[in-house]
Subunit: 243 residues, 2 copies
DNA sequence: CACAACTTACTGACTTGTCAGTAAGCCGGT
DNA sequence: ACCGGCTTACTGACAAGTCAGTAAGTTGTG
């Protein structure tokens, strides 16, 4: 009722986000019949994958607003007009559902960015700032990301591995971009610190903004990224603008 | 079993944290008998306030590791050797228990800082860096802070108001310190942005560090704070060192 | 004694997950 | 073109557990 079902939540990924369902040619992507079992592997039907995607979007919404632990299968099911047992039919368990929600989002993120090559160097930082600006119009996505991230540090949380991996990848990409932008004068260790700080400040500002919208998400993010890049910049080098 | 029961969780407050129970003179702080009811207010007995404090520490531990929603009253009760109904006898409801946990921590924070005046100006930033360093030795506290903060952005969370207020106060204090340090050359708006960014980066780095200890919490925090302060510094002014 | 600090016992709401049964659709053979 | 055999997509009922909260009774202590 409030905000749309989010297609993505990553700190980097996605700008505008057309929620178009992506029609795909016809039928199913012809799954590789896993060698060994000679049974006809006629699994995935078109209607099924669409139904599952519906459920995944509903689950993303519920887990995003209520959190994983608090969001119930019944609530997810209701959104797509089935019972909680129907959801379990498709995903087996609640944990598995969460894992597939996360994977689904990753795939969506990739789809949105395809064509437009993954930005590197200064373009990455511009992308980050644009993302922060875009996020000011979709609190639902930001909330979902913040809630899941916060929850993931509890004991044995099913999203923990996913979040950890995501941070690792992100730090790697941003570290590369830092080294590209400021040249070979930086110690690797400092570039990693800068990358961690940039991710940290983005996430931390999101939480503050969610709780109190006097915080200027986009402005503060831009300011902080610029400050951090400036700090790793050797005296001679001048940074390109982030616009 | 794993880590000690945390006395505090704020991003600013507390350095070492002696878990000493603080004996206090004798009896109770003589509660202001709210004018009107002439009942003898012999409520608080010494043993009782200590028992409650025990429960509050246990609850802080449970909510910190499992989160508020997932942590149960039974688990809290078990830690102090009573049943969950015994806990409810003291606090009335789970929500109320959480609120009192939060208040208890605030009081503890204040107690620890009393005598040593609340730092302002450059001393505040030194305090923040020292806190980050100290936090590397107490993941329990950091986790508890991160979990509760993340959870608080969900719908109708009982800690939401508290977390929001805390951020507001913190931003105010840090903004003042920024203005003190870099002089009158800064626009107020920029100082607020810097304050938000500093809080954000501290919180964000904590989460990354909890999930992956290759992140250097103290170093990265120090680096980021320095970078942000440098960025709001007018060309002429030179910052004092953060050591 | 009176009251605080419990315990025991229980309720009702909600959880995830299992299971059997049903309706609908596809699929190959004739 | 229809039929038997099969899979998928559910529903509804239920199991088994956890949870917060309540009510009534017990114990110990100032």
């Amino acid at each position: 009722m409030d905000d749309d079902v989010p297609p993505t939540a990553s700190a980097v990924a996605a700008s505008g986000g057309a929620p178009a369902p992506a029609p795909e040619p016809t039928r199913a992507p012809a799954p590789a019949t896993t060698s060994g079992a000679p049974k006809r592997a006629r699994r995935t039907r078109q209607a099924t994958v669409e139904r599952r995607a519906e459920i995944l979007r509903a689950a993303a919404h519920t887990f995003g607003t209520k959190g994983y632990k608090t969001g119930s299968l019944a609530e997810v099911a209701e959104q797509v007009g089935i019972t909680h047992a129907g959801v379990l039919h498709h995903f087996g368990s609640k944990d598995q559902l969460l894992v597939e929600v996360l994977e689904y989002r990753d795939k969506e993120d990739v789809r949105e960015l395809e064509g437009q090559h993954i930005p590197g160097g200064i373009e990455l930082f511009r992308h980050l700032v644009r993302t922060a600006a875009a996020n000011e119009d979709r609190p639902g996505i930001v909330q979902s990301y913040s809630v899941l991230t916060g929850e993931s540090v509890t004991e044995n949380h099913p999203a923990r591995a996913w979040v950890t991996e995501r941070f690792t990848v992100l730090r790697g990409e941003i570290t590369d971009a830092v080294e590209t932008v400021v040249g070979p004068g930086v110690e690797h260790e400092r570039a990693v610190e800068a990358a961690s700080a940039i991710i940290g400040v983005m996430d931390g500002l999101q939480v503050q903004w969610l709780l109190d919208d006097t915080v200027h998400l986009a402005h503060a993010t831009r300011f902080a990224i610029e400050a951090i890049l400036q700090a790793v910049c050797p005296p001679g080098v001048t940074l390109p603008s982030l616009d």
